[in-house]
């Protein structure tokens, strides 16, 4: 479960050692675009050594964006970076076949390195062809979420990226539906104009309103707002507790159907309420009122 994912360039010690300070739910250590081709080796060693020593008290998830499948860096990236210290591989330019290739590779590495856990996959959907395959990508094993790669995708579609985001409406909707159908996390594209606060906020609220469940950030100052935008509100949490409580009572009384605040409660409402409570607990949103 996550709301915010912070990209950290893979070869900058100064940013890596401060990565956990900003309350992002996940860090994406980047070996791809943020690292020069000549420095990929440096970055792999740096991230690996950092993760092996780091205590990570907040249980932030550690993801690695590797280089694309089939490229010259892909194999070394996997071989040198996959360990029990990471939670998922973020795969750029993903499509069905590249995710399947990565899936097989991870199975082999997990065996050969005797890992204690399963490494997940988070494909980045940033090509028009991948949008067309998105339902299938979402269904593949190990895939726990999809990231919309808005910058590359709009280039592929030859359309201008705006803070209104009309150009991304279809892609966002496709990803949201595919993720909802397979119960994985839909993750929105980062807003790349770091100092355009109002554009960023509009873009984030828009994604949340459409149904995205999380968003990437390329600057730590975006995390707080993203966390807020993708957290259930106080009212939603209160309502969820009411629903669960009402369900308990209904079961005790042997009632099949019941209402909360005058509205009929059915199974999806209960499921959503449970989900909201789980999220609220995980992200420490259930606080007693102050004073």
């Amino acid at each position: 479960m996550m709301r915010s994912l912070l990209f950290i360039p893979g070869n900058l010690p100064n940013m890596i050692q401060n990565a956990y300070l900003f309350d992002a739910d996940a860090i994406i250590f980047d070996l791809e675009d943020a690292v020069l081709p000549s420095e990929k080796d440096n970055a792999r060693n740096l991230i690996r050594e950092f993760l092996s020593k780091n205590s990570n008290k907040k249980n932030t998830l550690n993801f690695i964006r590797i280089n694309e499948v089939g490229g010259e860096f892909y194999k070394d990236d996997l071989e040198l970076i996959v360990s029990d210290n990471i939670d998922a591989i973020v795969l750029p330019k993903a499509n069905v076949s590249s995710v399947q290739t990565l899936e097989r590779a991870l199975s082999n590495i997990e065996k050969s390195k005797e890992l204690q856990k399963m490494i997940h996959i988070i494909p980045i959907i940033e090509q028009a062809t991948s949008i067309l395959q998105v339902d299938q990508i979402a269904s593949l094993p190990r895939v726990i979420g999809l990231i919309l790669g808005g910058e590359d995708l709009t280039k592929d579609v030859e359309v201008k990226r705006t803070s209104e985001g009309n150009e991304l409406l279809y892609s966002r909707s496709r990803i949201i539906m595919a993720c909802a159908a397979y119960k994985i996390t839909s993750i929105d594209t980062p807003y790349t104009d770091v100092y355009d606060d109002s554009g960023f906020e509009k873009d984030t609220l828009n994604a949340a309103a459409l149904g995205m469940k999380a968003k990437c950030a390329i600057h730590p100052r975006h995390i707080e707002f993203i966390n807020q935008a993708f957290s259930p509100t106080k009212e939603e949490i209160e309502h969820a507790y009411k629903v669960v409580e009402a369900k308990k009572n209904a079961e005790l009384e042997g009632k099949g159907s019941f209402t909360v605040d005058g509205k009929m409660v059915d199974k999806p409402v209960v499921e959503r309420a449970i989900n909201v409570i789980e999220k609220a607990k995980k992200f420490n949103l259930v606080k007693d009122d102050e004073e």
């Binding site: 900058l12 010690p13 100064n14 050692q17 080796d41 440096n42 060693n45 740096l46 690996r48 050594e49 950092f50 092996s52 020593k53 780091n54």
Partner: protein, 83 residues
């Protein structure tokens, strides 16, 4: 044979490893007064771990943490060996 890795950015270091007939470690650190011995020990231990002998290791350090120094040393050795 020689390999170099790292940068002069704050919290980073540049490490150069050169093959020679004996071991030698030279550390120039902005925090040398406080951490020279720890940095030296880390380098000695990493060389042992990697079974690398008879090299000159030159460190220009801008306040890197141990994990950074170790990573840069590993890369520098790999680059030296790749030549």
């Amino acid at each position: 044979m020689k390999g170099t890795a790292g940068s002069k950015e704050s919290s980073d270091c540049i490490i150069t490893v050169t093959k020679q007939d004996h071991q030698e470690i030279l550390i120039d650190s902005v925090v040398g007064a406080f951490f020279h011995d720890q940095i030296k020990l880390l380098i000695i231990n990493t060389l042992k771990e990697l079974k690398v002998e008879n090299v000159k290791v030159e460190v220009i350090d801008r306040g890197a943490l141990d994990s950074t120094i170790k990573a840069r040393l590993i890369t520098a050795i790999e680059r030296m060996n790749a030549l």
